[in-house]
């Protein structure tokens, strides 16, 4: 279940297989390592510089972490690690 992951300001995108992760914290740890930054979970978003978002199957961009993990895996089409200021709107 490979999806593209972009990060604002990064020179290129990466691809990850969502099936290998056990849950959100597993996924976010992997993204932190991959992009060498701190990516906050939804409850720790304030003060974090980056926010993980995803495009769901309806084409909407959503904040990662709200829905159960299994539901996220099924509906996530691609991810974008957004600068925190933009995610809050």
């Amino acid at each position: 279940m490979y999806v593209k992951v972009s990060m604002d300001g990064a020179p290129y995108l990466r691809k990850i297989d969502l099936k290998v992760y056990k849950g959100y914290s597993d996924l976010l740890k992997a993204l932190e390592y991959m992009f060498k930054l701190t990516v906050g979970l939804y409850s720790e978003r304030d003060g974090c510089k980056y926010a993980p978002t995803y495009e769901d199957k309806d084409g909407d961009w959503m904040l990662v972490g709200d829905v159960p993990w299994e539901m996220f895996m099924l509906s996530c089409k691609r991810m974008r690690i957004m600068k925190g200021s933009e995610a809050k709107g």
């Binding site: 490979y2 593209k4 972009s6 604002d8 300001g9 990064a10 020179p11 290129y12 995108l13 990466r14 691809k15 990850i16 060498k36 957004m82 600068k83 933009e86």
Partner: protein
Amino acid sequence: MQNSNRTVYKSGCVGRSLDISRFNSYHELRRELGQMFGIEGLLEDPQRSGWQLVFVDRENDVLLLGDDPWEAFVNSVWYIKILSPEDVQQLGKHEVESYGQNSGEKVQRDLSGLPPSMGSFDF
């Protein structure tokens, strides 16, 4: 018959073309590209050498080569670009600037000519 030739770019060099169907793995492709451009060994270990192989897919996204299973890569690759350590820094710098101006909007990819590198971007 599908055309399986793909263009490979490296700044400062003329473009090359290779038949992607000749290869069965990323390792074979990296080795061939290294020989083709006279940078043998530099593309096998990006962490150490700083050289990166990226490709542009049919959705016009620039991706790091190697994350996808091989077959998925072959089916989605449009063209390949070899980035020197300086190119990587410069590309990151441009991405930072473009996201500042068009927040969230896609920027048309132009990897065919990178300006000389100045400054640094920690990525």
